[in-house]
Amino acid sequence: MIQFSKICKRYPGGYEALKNVSFEIAEGEMIFLTGHSGAGKSTLLKLVAAIERPNSGSIVVKGQNVSSIKGGALPYLRRNLGLIFQDHKILFDRSVFDNVMLPLQICGFDHRESAKRVRAALDKVGLLKHEKTSPIALSGGEQQLLCIARAIVNRPSILLADEPTGNLDLDYARDIMNIFNSFHQVGVTLLISSHDESILRQFKGRVLALKNGMLCP
């Protein structure tokens, strides 16, 4: 499903975020990406979604070579991915419902069909009662849940989550991990990064540990 071979990523200025990283993720796997902050977890996730490009090596996602993908094909790659960000990237000028609606509008879905899907996604994360409120009224944990609802409304086959439980208290963190686990059970491929290994130990999943930009054996 996701294949990295000999990936190096150097940022302008000379900082080397990833050094010769190779791994493979099979379909339906749940992967925990761990490591101290600055180890290269975010960079690795950004490479999968082609937000950053590698300096060398190749990345293949769903049979598509992402490292050399053209700008025109990029949107269609991202529609297959559900992206969950640590800083949520929620739009505060519209309601909770409209935030989740955005990916479906982008894909040009029929309005009535998408409304059903949006409610289903909000129900899944437990935010259905807040559908008409502004995201600004939500707590940090609820905003993270909203971000998850937006990522899954498109029913992507791959979910990428960058520190989804960072800054959250233990209850929310466990809720969110439970939601991820339920996606794992229906066959979604998940790649979840976290610096907090204690919460990951409660769930079954392969661990990829990064240290100073290299994979620990």
């Binding site: 949107p75 991202r78 991915l81 992206l83 739009l91 509008q105 982008i106 040009g108 029929d110 309005h111």
Partner: protein, 302 residues
Amino acid sequence: MKNLLVSHVHVLRLTLRRFLTTPLSSLLNILVFGIALSLPAGMYLLLKSVQSLAEKEVGSQQISIFLSMDASRDEVTKIGKQLKQHVGINQVKFVPRDQALEQLKQTTGLTDVIGGMAENPLPDAYIVYPETSDAQALEALRDELQKWPNFEHVQLDSAWAYKLEAMLKFGLLAVFFLAVLLSFALVAVTFNTIRLQILTQREEIEVSKLIGATNAFIRRPFLYFGLLQGLLGGAAAWLLITVSLYLLNNSLSELTQLYTSNFALQLPSVGDSSTLLLLSAYLGWLGAWLSVAQHLWKIEPR
């Protein structure tokens, strides 16, 4: 196909909402379009009205020849024959002095004044219709006739119309330059409006790109906005022009009645109106397109 339609309808709704969220600035922008376009378009229509008047006069080519008062009857008839034999002349009409006086009485109503005069002050006259309608050939013919004996005054009746037409052509050119300059200004206005919109919607653009929006999808609402602003601005210009021409015609009709003429300014025709609307919509679209091309690629998610 249906999806495409749905998304276009969605974008249109979004665009209208953007208009309504900033009603004052939208209104001002539309007004800027309206005023800037009504200036050259209104002047163009005025010039065209005057031009149609001039064309009517140019259409009836004629040379009036006024004979000297002391020419005898025989001389007058001889001149008439000579004129008819002239190759450059198509038709000759004789206006005897008595008939001319009678006509003057009827058209001006100055019966009392004319009746009080001891003798007829008007000369015999010939009205000559030349073969050619070329301005230079007409002038040459006039100059030639001027040299004939017993001709007191030879007048090319359409000369003033030619002069007016030449001036109008110059005026139209000036209006054209003004229109080009103002078009640039309108493109610049839209460019800046859209630039501000892109900056305030930076976050939305970024997130949309992250979740798989194509560039066309992101571009669309801005282009629609420019197009709609241009179209509404064109409509405003049309309204301004039509209302002012209507008001001008009202006061003009009082004036023209005094001159027993039925001259009136032409209101914009269907063709003129649609050209105006299309042009202003295009200018809005162009400004938006340039702005989007300039600014959108700079916003990449990090």
